[in-house]
Symmetry: C2
Subunit: 154 residues, 2 copies
């Protein structure tokens, strides 16, 4: 493989989102709302987390929150300016607020959240230096959510 091909295959947004989806699958299997996140620094995953609100009995234990705490722990600094957060569903207000304090470099989310996504409330919640992209593997990300809420209604 050429270097460019290796880079595309292993270090693409799709590759890292697939790792976030694996975390969402862990959440799904634990009867949690299936959201997963990974944080990447220089093409290396430095933290990964699944939503654990029920498991930890903690309303703040969203995948992004755990991943941010874990990444800053790894990083040794409270800012994540050069990091990318990959998360399967658009962050809520709480998690978007946390990325503000971490001054995270970039957010890549899968599926938009038209009910609880932070953009419904105010797009400017993010830090001015944070870039944001959505729609990466959105169908795969959303499929888990649909399955979860369908199971809840049974």
């Amino acid at each position: 493989m050429q270097n460019q091909e290796i880079h595309t295959r292993f270090f693409s947004d799709e590759y890292f989102m697939k790792q976030a989806i694996k975390q969402a699958e862990i959440a799904y299997n634990n009867n949690e709302v299936p959201v997963g996140a990974v944080i990447v620094y220089k093409n290396k995953i430095i933290s990964k987390a699944s939503n654990q609100q029920e498991t930890l009995n903690d309303p703040t234990a969203h995948a992004e929150m755990i991943a941010i705490t874990s990444a800053t722990n790894y990083n040794g600094g409270k800012y994540l300016k050069e990091c990318v957060l990959y998360v399967t569903i658009e962050p809520c207000v709480m998690c978007a607020g946390a990325t503000y304090w971490a001054q995270i470099g970039k957010i890549v989310f899968g599926s938009a959240d038209t009910k609880k996504g932070f953009r419904i409330f105010n797009k400017n919640i993010l830090h001015p230096s944070t870039k944001i992209y959505g729609g990466i593997l959105k169908n795969e990300c959303n499929l888990l959510m649909k399955k979860f809420f369908k199971k809840l209604r049974l």
Copy 2:
């Protein structure tokens, strides 16, 4: 003392805000932005926390977040519907978002935050059933912040 007098003296908003201020003083003494919080259930403090962003090297470690996690741990349930959060400074977006997920019954804050307070972004971030009151001992709450930022500039 009559029962009513005891109630007023020991279980007033001022009394609980003073306990939150004690937590803010701990933050101040640890060179943290001096914010403190307590969570009260049926007139009993079930959690208290000071801001620990620097101490824990964690951008999510605001006083309110720690107090919420701690209160749900005490409570054994992820909701805090019958609880009151006393916090010395108006919550930021992240913390207001956390109170949404906890469905906290009431928020009582001391001083408004005209720069990072959640109300600048959207007043509807709170859960529809959450009541909110501000201005309790606001001068005392704000004094610590003024002292802190004055010290930073020296």
